[in-house]
Each structure stands twice: as structure tokens, then as C-alpha cells.
Amino acid sequence: MNFTQAVKMAFSSILSNKMRSFLTMLGVIIGVTAVITLIALGQGSTMQVSRQIESLGTNLIIINITGGRNRSVTEKDLERIKNIPGVSEIAPVLSGGVTVKAGNKNTSSSLEATTPGYQQVRNRHVQLGRFLLQNDLDMRFRVAVVGVDVADELFGRRDIVGEKISINGVEFSIVGILEEKGSSIAGSDDNKVIIPLTTGQRLLGNTEVRTFYVSTQFPDVVNQVVGEIQRFLTRKFNDENSFRVFNQTQLLSTINEATTTLTMMLSGIAGISLLVGGIGIMNIMLVSVTERTREIGIRKAIGAKRRDILIQFLIESAVLSGLGGVLGIMLGFVGVSFLSRILNIPAAISADVVLLATGFSVAVGVIFGLYPASKAASLNPIDALRYE
């Protein structure tokens, strides 16, 4: 007996009992839908987080000085760090929360006082006007570059270069508007005011720089540069616990690890529901074999071999389960597009997940069909013919 004939027979047998077939498939449908949806959402959120981190730049290193109040880096230290081979730019940052006012409106925002290098190091560019210049630092100009949230909040528009704002009561003029970045894990990057470092030291009453960003020329020298910076700071403070160094690659791999574990756990749970679906298939196939004992007897009497009967029932359960898999995939597409809209996660169903789900559901059918099919195949033709 050939394969296409067996598949045809399986389909007609499944169609002759639609309701039962559907209920049997339901387990696999739910399992596959769950696998597809969870993996797609898992991969989608991983992708989203990775993209956010990557947009900060994979060649970015963040250094925080911790410990005693009087520990900080000087301009000279920064000059030395900038000369480490592989470093392309460096930007010291003083930061703090401030209240920003314009006219009768005010908003709280995060302030960063820094140098022109910040633009390159943090990959933040202006969409309108200009960024800070060395001259602004040298002259301690009261100029500010603001994010779009600040502009929207205070002015309700974005073409506000030249307008005046007051930061903690000190008047600044706006020289540039930052490009919109969207929110990230660290909160909104658009609710931000950037002023010259020197001006900021005076405004915040603090001259100690305890945070600085370093960007490397290439992503693959990051580790080497981190090592140099650590050596330098350890020597300076005589304490290797007095500072913290982060880089994006580390962060990225940590987060990837976490989300991969999460995705695997979720798909494991979904896999269990597939297993339950498989047991449902085995159950109904056993019932079907009993019901069709006479048919099996007739088929054997007219020449069906053990293998023919085995293949017939195996294909039937594989088709049943595979069909459930296909329906589950379709339902998964619907579920993913629905959930990704509601949860605001960009989720994409990858081709290999679809292939995996299809293969898995067919395999479930074959594995759980094996016992009923071999039971059918080993029936004695006379007993089967006599069965009422």
C-alpha cells in the first residue's frame, strides 16, 4: 500500500468523525498555539531590549566612582584615560534632578552637565540647533540642549531654539533640541536637559566628577580598555572597590541569558501541554482501534499485512496531530498579533519556530499513535472478524 493512499484513507477517517477529531486535536492546538505565542513574545521582548541596549552603543563603557565623598576624577585623570589606546572619546558627567521652568509652566527633568564629547560617546545628536561646544565650557555659558519631552511639556512645540528656560531658578538659553529616542529600561531618555560641565558644576554646587563615559574605537577592544581603566583607577584610589565599570556587551549578554532562560521555561510549559495533547490522541486512537476491530479484520482478510494496518493508524494519528499543529500555528499567529499589540512588544514568528512546531506535533502523533497502531496491527484476523 502506498503512502498517498494511506494519507487519503486517514483524512477520510478523520473527516467521518469531525467533532471527535476536533476535540482530540484541541490538546495539540492549544499546545502549539502556546508554544508559538510564548516563543514569539519571548524573542520579541529579547529583541526589543537588545536593540535598546545596542542603541546606546556596544562600544560604550560607563564608570561610576563609589566610596568616599572626596573621591573623584580630575581633568588630568580624564586626559590620561583618553590617551589609553583604543579610546576614542570620553565624557565626564555631573547629573541631578532639576526643575525646569518656562513662563508659567514647569517640569522636573534630569540634568546632565557634560562636555562636547558626550554627543559622540552617548550617540545623542541634535535634531535642531547645535550641541555644546568647547567654547560654552570655557566661557561657562548658560546654554542648554533639551530633550523633546521637555520641549513638549514647556512649550508644546519643538522649534524652541533661542527660547529661555530657567533651571533651578537660573536662566539658560536653549541652543539645541535632542533627537527623539523613546523610553528605555532606564526611563525616558527624552526628558533631559544637557548643559556645559563647567556651568553645571556651578549650578549644582559640586565640582567632583564621579561618573564618566568612555567610548572605544571598536567594540572588540572594549574589554581591553576596561582592563586599562580598572588598572588606572585602582592605582589612583589604591582600592579596587572604589569604582564600578559597566559596558553594554556585559549587560547585553546578561539580559540575553535571562530572557533565553525565560523563553525556554515558557516553551517547556507549553511543551507539557503538547504532551497532554498527545495523550489525548493516544486515548482516542485506542478507542478508534476498538471500534474498528471489525474493519481491521476485514482488511486483514483481504490481504492487509501487519505493516499496512500499522501505517494506516500511525498516519491517521500523525495527520490528526499534524492538523492540530497547523491549526495551532494559525491560531498562534492570531494570538501573537493580538498580544503584541496589547503588551506593546514587537513579536515576530520565525520560520524555524513554525517548522519546529509542525515537526513536533507530527512527532507527537507518531509517538502516541505507536501503541494503538501496533495494537491494531497485531489483532488476530478471525477474532477481529467475529467482533461485534
Partner: protein, 263 residues
């Protein structure tokens, strides 16, 4: 005592048109060492039910020639159904030898027996035993599917035998849409479609009214006159009279074996 029909050179004789290639797997058409198509030697069948031994067949020896029309008769429980099951390779004897076309098939395994059933026998049962979800055509095609015949040839052959049974108009009907007589004719078509050496009919008229039963028996008579070998199992003497040789069985033993006048 045997009726020996010799020269059957009728060109319509179905099994002579079978090409030898279909039996390339070791079962050939040549008559065996004894010259009989079917030869049973000292055959016994004993069932064990707990501690009880039930002797269904007791030391039966029997030969049947090509082209014979044999009725095996006996009351219920006589062992005639067991005999038919063994002849039809649905069951295996406990003791003794069974030569089919000169080959000892008592040592055959289940798969080999399935192949023998498919190629050598056509079964007609009392309860028709058609598959209810398949059409007449699909039912008749089944033996050819298991014989590995291609779809086109299968359809042609099935339609040919269904037409022969006068069912050319009903090939797409399901068994439930056919009368008992028509269902039995579909079953006969299914038995014939593989051009078997032997047609085995177990009470073929048992579930039919007398008129349909007569029609079915006329078909068997016709098949016999075309040279087919037919073995008929019945308890009804009026049905058995259609055959040319009557074997009586009682308590698992042959009590008589004689020729019958053509009706």
C-alpha cells in the same frame, strides 16, 4: 470419490489470465507435487480454553482440485467454519500439513499468510463485511490497494467486476444505500477483483431473503461454469445442492464426501 474436472481451457477462466509476475514473491501458480490446488493432510485444530481442550478439527485429510465447486456442510459447532478459516489462511492448524499449490504453508508467518489471502483467496461472508464508510467502488478496490496495484488500473479492474455483477450504476453508493443482495454482489466483486485461485464463501445467503439468495447462488454457479474454484460453507442443503461436491463434517471429522448432480 472426488469429482475431477479436467481440461479447463475456457479462455474466460479468470486465473489463467493472471500474469505470472504478480506472484514473483515466491508463491507461484504451478500445481504442486500432488497435483491438487488444496491438500490438507491429517489436519487438526485444538483450542485451549483454560484446562479444557476443544478439538475443532480432528485429523482431517482433504484435497480440492482447480475448478471444483465444493460445499462444506455441517451443523453449527461441527468445525466447518474452523476448516474454512484454515483453508482461507485466516487461521493456522495445530497439527498436520496444508499444501496450497504444492507449497506447505503451515510454516508461513502472518505477513506471508496475508499475502496468500490477498492473492489466492476471495472471501464472501455471511454478513457481507463491507466497509460502511467506503463506496462500492472503494470497497472493491481494497484488495488491489493491498496488492500494490496502481490507482488507474485499480479503478478499471474494480469497475469491470462491478459491471460483471450488474452493479455498473451503483459504484458510488455506500453499502447502506444498497439492498442486501446488492451488498453481497459488491462483496463477490471484491472477492473476484484480485483474480483469486479460490473463492471462499461462508453462508453467503445467510443474511438474504430467498429471492436474493437464489440470485447470489446463480452468480456462484455462473462463476463455476467459467472455471472458478469455489468453496461454499453452509448448513443449508438447498444451498449446498448448487455445488458439485458435498463434504459433510460433524464433530471435526469428515463424515461424507460425494459428488452431487448438477441442478
Amino acid at each position: 470419490m472426488h469429482s475431477r474436472r479436467g481440461d479447463l481451457t475456457d479462455p474466460e477462466f479468470p486465473q489463467t489470465t493472471v500474469d505470472e509476475g504478480r506472484y514473483a514473491d515466491g508463491i507461484n501458480e504451478k500445481e504442486g507435487a500432488f497435483g491438487y490446488m488444496i491438500r490438507l493432510e491429517n489436519l487438526s485444530k485444538i483450542y485451549r480454553m483454560g484446562d479444557n481442550r476443544v478439538v475443532a478439527l480432528n485429523n482431517i485429510s482433504l484435497s480440492i482440485n482447480k475448478g471444483e465447486f465444493v460445499a462444506i456442510m455441517g451443523p453449527s459447532g461441527s468445525g466447518k467454519s474452523t476448516l474454512m478459516n484454515i483453508i482461507g489462511c485466516l487461521d493456522v492448524p495445530t497439527e498436520g500439513k496444508y499444501y496450497l499449490d504444492g507449497r506447505d504453508i503451515t510454516s508461513y508467518n502472518q505477513n506471508q499468510l496475508a499475502e496468500v489471502r490477498n492473492k489466492k483467496f476471495g472471501f464472501v461472508f455471511q454478513g457481507f463485511n463491507l466497509l460502511p464508510k467506503l463506496t462500492a467502488l472503494e470497497n472493491v478496490e481494497l484488495p488491489l490497494i493491498y496488492a500494490g496495484v496502481g490507482a488507474k488500473k485499480r479503478r478499471e479492474e474494480a469497475i469491470r467486476v462491478l459491471k460483471m455483477m450488474g452493479l455498473g450504476e451503483r459504484i458510488h453508493h455506500r453499502p447502506s444505500e444498497l439492498s442486501g443482495g446488492q451488498q453481497q454482489r459488491v462483496a463477490i466483486a471484491r472477492a473476484l477483483v484480485n483474480r483469486p485461485s479460490v473463492i471462499l464463501a461462508d453462508e453467503p445467503t445467510g443474511n438474504l431473503d430467498s429471492k436474493s439468495g437464489m440470485e447470489i447462488m446463480q452468480i456462484f454457479k455462473e462463476l463455476y461454469s467459467q472455471g472458478n474454484t469455489i468453496i461454499l460453507i453452509t448448513h443449508d442443503i438447498n444451498i449446498a445442492r448448487y455445488a458439485r461436491r458435498m463434504i459433510m463434517i460433524r464433530d471435526g471429522q469428515i463424515v461424507s464426501d460425494e459428488e452431487v448432480e448438477m441442478q
